[in-house]
Symmetry: C2
Subunit: 202 residues, 2 copies
DNA sequence: GTCTATATTGTGATAGAC
DNA sequence: GTCTATCACAATATAGAC
């Protein structure tokens, strides 16, 4: 972050990403962003008029990178269970490498649900592709009856929750052993699809 | 809240619970608590010396009410799968009736992990009872091999995540229809145990 | 115990020199 | 474009009257 060879605007955005995503809107100080970017507070306001606008730039950037893009996998020509495996592997890895993202998004939406949910919707989440293939599996009797949205929520819960709740589970169940916790998270990426498949197969 | 027949200290604590649990430490203003309690700011400091101390009172109270107490179910004399059903039913209902609790706990632990995880640990979470009965089921070949902590996390994920992420899923998947979302949450309490049982049964 | 008034501090934002 | 200095306001906390 804040590399010497970036222009000032990008240095600011990079530093703002770091701080906002770790600490959230309310927990972030403009001073900390300025320090991390190697400039002073006044320049933040020169490039982005307010904290709110800088935050929205970071939020929209985060959303654009971390919204699940499932159309490609959904419409690909592989068996349904392999689609599950591929999605969990792909999306789980993305979040594993960016572990602060889930709590960032959840916290900010809790703080300001209407505006920020709209920010997500306006970037075009496309879950319909996923829902229709799940429904088709159900209709054709290849998996147990399940409401596609519930199924989606189950899958996201199993992927996201252990990352979002890491600060808690790490201390309460794993004696603050970060290495072991991350090992568990990686192992989950293989176990979750099988867990799900066993749960729904006929 | 702030009923006329409560003494001042309890009026304050009740009002503080309402506000802190919805908005978190950073999002809460002492003025709002005072208003909701029907008193003025100075009295808050008379009873609780600082915002921090008032917050800790609320946090510890929340923890004492919402930590899962699994020993009783774990050691009861019913089949393992019925224990799962009973726990999901019981704990799920508790959180369903207190839907702000999960994000409150997760957010605050993210903000201040060491102090607040200790606050939880010092109230004595007892997950060992649960872990040992899961391990026994595995050892005796009645369920598929699974690490007890992973299993616990899966179960908690399926119960908690749809509540914690409600502000997001409600708007993105349910067109802001609160009634339908709550209906889905209640229905899940019956579906989750079967989902889990299918996933692990041999 | 409860109030009003005020002190104190922190922080987002702006003015103005260079 | 970038800086220093400063403003303006919000929020916690305290003093002191009753």
């Amino acid at each position: 972050m804040a590399d010497k060879d970036l222009n000032t605007e990008n240095k600011i955005l990079g530093a703002a990403e770091d701080v906002f995503i770790k600490k959230g809107m309310d927990g972030t100080r403009m001073q900390e962003i300025a320090n991390k970017a190697g400039i002073n507070k006044a320049l933040l306001h020169y490039y982005y008029r307010s904290k709110e606008k800088l935050f929205m730039a970071v939020f929209n950037l985060a959303i654009s990178k971390f919204i699940p893009r499932i159309e490609k996998i959904a419409y690909s020509d592989i068996p349904f269970f392999d689609k599950i495996r591929m999605f969990v592997e792909h999306y789980g890895n993305l979040l594993y490498k960016n572990q602060f993202i889930p709590m960032f998004v959840l916290s900010e939406i809790r703080r300001n649900p209407d505006q920020l949910a709209n920010a997500i919707l306006s970037q075009g989440v496309n879950t319909d592709a996923f829902f229709s293939i799940v429904q088709k599996e159900v209709d054709e009797g290849r998996i147990k009856p399940i409401e596609p949205r519930s199924f989606f929520i189950n899958m996201m819960a199993l992927i996201i929750f252990p990352i979002a709740a890491k600060p808690m589970f790490l201390r309460i169940l794993y004696k603050n052993d970060k290495r072991e916790y991350d090992q568990m998270l990686r192992k989950r990426l293989e176990e979750i699809p099988e867990f799900i498949i066993n749960a729904i197969k006929v």
